[in-house]
Symmetry: C2
């Protein structure tokens, strides 16, 4: 058990416990709270039940140095957090005149008296609370002293929560360095894990976590006392051990790095996508500034599109099939020439669930890469993966192939 002081996070909303919405606030709050030296002991979601929430808050406020609650601060009768917190702490509430003034324009929008009155419930402040004025919404936050420390009430919408969390936590100095995040491509998750473990041997004060999604591995180093300098050294050691599979040490995505490095190299890019259907160009254009490097792409789902838009010779498709090294190369060459780009990548494969054969099963994907000097192809077989996973992994492989070419130019 850690010596650190503990924190608890509570997310309020029936949609969370009813399985209708996945909670992302907890992860965000956890990271910020940990940077300030707390260990998050528990994170709980509860429905809009004032009595149950009051019992929970009462227990947590007695146990943890810091309790952060999000949600349930709005104006509707489902918003029970203010009342539950007052009940848990045994305190009264009173209308805050400044908040009443602030809410007047919102009250004025309602013609129904009951709705107007409800808006003003957001001006109710628990005795002794510090008010966090709303910057993005209408619901204020509240910070309260408890038996064991501090209770923070924040609104649930992430945009409102985020901004207010920063103000609420300003009273706690960050004592841990921010987590470092390395991006890894073209290596199995277990290999990345072992490589990182080898590099961290003998280094104290660092916790390692490896997270994997299809085609995307993130190696995360958490400060457990090593500090900024220790963490920097560890990042360098892990990156060296991972070798060229490690494409970023600053949390960037593969597409971020590709756009950045292509920009520096003044290299222009193009795509020719069949099985990825636009995901490769969508990933690149997700990065602000992508227009400086990506000239464009063709989604050539039909054979006619491959022939007419990418100048793939129809005989190649007839002889080798649309999913083949020959067609992948021709697609890449066609896209490169069409857009007059420096580098183009092509994907053609069988994402399933239908369309597979014994010879060309679901999960088989051919990649083509063309530069002004050469054309090459790469084969990958992703057995047992879902359509979504095959498309996601293929996208990542295509971005990685582009990056390697840009670096080699």
């Amino acid at each position: 058990v850690s010596e650190r002081e503990t924190a608890a996070i509570v997310t309020v909303g029936s949609e969370l416990v009813e399985g209708l919405r996945v909670d992302t606030n907890t992860a965000e709050i956890a990271r910020e709270v940990q940077r300030r030296g707390f260990r998050v002991a528990e994170a709980t979601s509860v429905g809009d039940d004032q009595g149950e929430l009051a019992v929970l808050l009462g227990r947590l406020a007695e146990t943890h140095r810091l309790v952060v609650v999000t949600g349930g601060l709005g104006p509707t009768h489902d918003d029970v957090t203010r009342d539950a917190a007052a009940q848990a702490l045994g305190r009264e509430m009173a209308m805050d005149p400044a908040l009443v003034d602030f809410l007047q324009p919102f009250v004025a929008r309602h013609t129904e008296p009951r709705s107007a009155a409800q808006v003003l419930t957001q001006a109710l402040v628990i005795d002794g609370a510090e008010v966090l004025a709303p910057a993005n919404g209408t619901a204020p936050g509240q910070v309260l002293a408890t038996a064991a420390g501090t209770l923070v009430l924040l609104p649930g919408p992430p945009r409102e929560m985020r901004e207010m969390l920063e103000r609420a936590l300003a009273r706690f100095t960050p004592v841990r360095a921010a987590a470092r995040e390395l991006g890894v491509a073209g290596m199995p998750e277990s290999d990345a894990q072992h490589a990182a473990q080898r590099a961290l041997e003998g280094r104290g004060g660092i916790a390692l976590t490896v997270l994997a999604k299809p085609g995307d591995i993130r190696v995360i180093l958490l400060d457990e006392g090593a500090g900024e300098a220790g963490l920097d050294e560890a990042v360098a050691a892990v990156a060296a051990e991972l070798g060229e599979a490690c494409y970023a040490t600053d949390g960037s995505t593969l597409a971020d790095v590709l756009v950045r490095e292509a920009g520096v190299a003044r290299a222009t890019l193009a795509t020719a996508e069949s099985c990825t259907g636009g995901l490769v160009s969508a990933a690149i254009t997700d990065v602000p500034g992508a227009s400086d490097v990506l000239l464009g792409g063709v989604v050539a789902y039909s054979n006619d599109a491959k022939v007419h838009l990418l100048a793939v010779a129809r005989e190649l498709i007839t002889e080798f099939g649309a999913v083949s090294a020959e067609v992948a190369q021709a697609m890449a060459r066609g896209a490169r020439e069409r857009f007059d780009a420096d580098v183009a990548v092509a994907t053609t494969g069988i994402a399933g669930p239908g369309g597979g054969s014994q010879e060309k099963p679901v999960g088989l994907v051919w990649f083509g890469v063309a530069t002004r000097l050469h054309v090459s192809s790469t084969r990958r077989l992703m057995t047992g993966a879902s359509r979504g996973a095959i498309r996601a992994r293929s996208t990542s492989i295509a971005l990685d192939l582009l990056l390697r070419e840009v670096r080699g130019l």
Copy 2:
């Protein structure tokens, strides 16, 4: 407070409370548990601390009729759930011979004696537990009788969890109809909410939830006693009130419906994307069977690409700018002709954060639609939205425009 029996969900793993991974198991388990008549009272994530977990499980097992725990059942020393559950219930554990046999092949893969021994910890079964044999992984689940009801231990990886959850819950009969999900496009969230509320007035036994992501509104009706027939009637009433903004009443996405209806109408599609950068074609090709309807698309990020691949007259770009009704129409027409498709959609806009001007601010997007008979354009201004939100909403609008044309053909 509901009269229903209560359930609690626990997810175990330090990565969850450290903010490194967003928990999706809880939502999935909650939906299944509710269908069996339980109300989920609390959902808690805890780290890999055996003592803390044992305290939590002890409290929950005394309070709730059903407690479902996921994670922490693997072979490493971080996997503390088995021990914590045994501790909470005051029971011993013993090696299960059938599980030992099952795990032998996995033991044999390890050369290090310590790793081999660790694999076998997964064969430890708590006294009185029913074993859920692993179908996808190596970790078995366990079902235990508690003072208040039942405690279910499941592995954390969603694929393993999902399959085993079904077996674990087989002892509870589904008493609620599955939730109904309507898809809505082209209407503000609050309007959708009010329309649904109007349609549900006077209907009992149904709970309403409206979830909104950029460009995607889901109206969800939960069975609170109305039953299959009552829910079906309510779905019809809500759909009628929402009008043509409601594109699906069976949980389908906009892209699902588009691919299905275009398939029935034997209509072929093409895309010409600038600001969405491939997201429209990626959404369509995410649907299995998309190859029957989508011929292909062009991501025309640069002006040259618009001219060369989509035959947009350069004078149009010079005179009206790339973000204009004229260019959107020309892009759509160009894509339709290029691919010889029945319907094509085009997007051209300013997704930001840079590139905006007073006349054409960030968030301005023009859409073009071309059929064999006519060409039209639509303007949308999404003020204050992020790059990601502008791209997501534009994608949804483009899919909606395609669907309207397919329905009108």
